[in-house]
Symmetry: C2
Subunit: 122 residues, 2 copies
DNA sequence: AAATTATTAAACCAGGTGGTTGACTTTTTC
DNA sequence: GAAAAAGTCAACCACCTGGTTTAATAATTT
């Protein structure tokens, strides 16, 4: 536990990159509701089928989507786990960012103490 | 409040894209600790100065970093607000994803009720 | 067996990415 | 005023992206 998420993390690269396109976010959103095959995924996207297929493959590279071939259909299923690493990074970042104000607060607190006399804290 | 984050969101594209490279995550992390100028940011990255400078510009496009020119130095400061939108998207997505199990749970609950007699819930 | 459906593959394109090098401008320091 | 420092810009490179079209393959339906 409390395992630092390194900035050097190829999985993280792939997950964030996967999230960086509206078509892929749309695919993920719809997969959150349940399994869908490629043509179902492609249909509402305003692009050709091969383009949509490529987007799905980007999601697979990020391990966010898994595919199970069933006859001529490729049924896609969401796999949310890798997203957790991304959330973790953001979360750690936020803590670090907010920690900055905490130390600033502590400093101000110390300064106030200084004016009332030397601090007794160790 | 409760404003749906659309999948069609150019800001979101830029923020996620900004996060999708280790050098840029490293820059953000270090900026979380406080203001730094370009050469300070570039120094620990194993690439030439112009390359690092380009990464900072990607972060600026995502509005995650702001620059204030002070003499010959360009002092960079983190601006975390746009990250909030990304967190929000992920959060909504997670809720949708977990909601799926909730409805499954509700269904199973209903099925159990059915065996004990018709449900009285509306 | 033929037609339809679901999907991949390959070739192509414009434009972006991530990196380099070399030349240049501006500000600070000596 | 010359040298050093902080950055930019432009050109170049290899490769990736996001899209298209056309052709091919595989499974299902008729």
């Amino acid at each position: 536990m409390n395992h630092m998420v390194s900035d050097r993390a190829p999985n993280l690269d792939r997950v964030f990159h996967a999230l960086a396109h509206p078509a892929r976010r749309s695919i993920l959103r719809r997969l959150a509701a349940g399994e869908l095959n490629l043509s179902e995924l492609a249909q509402p996207l305003r692009m050709t089928f091969p383009a949509a297929s490529k987007h799905v493959r980007v999601l697979e590279r990020a391990r966010l989507v898994r595919r199970r071939v069933s006859g001529r259909q490729h049924r896609c299923r969401l796999h949310a786990a890798p997203l957790q690493e991304a959330v973790l990074w953001t979360e750690q970042f936020r803590q670090q960012w907010e920690g900055r104000f905490q130390t600033l607060d502590a400093l101000l607190e110390d300064m106030k103490s200084e004016t009332r006399g030397p601090s007794r804290r160790r």
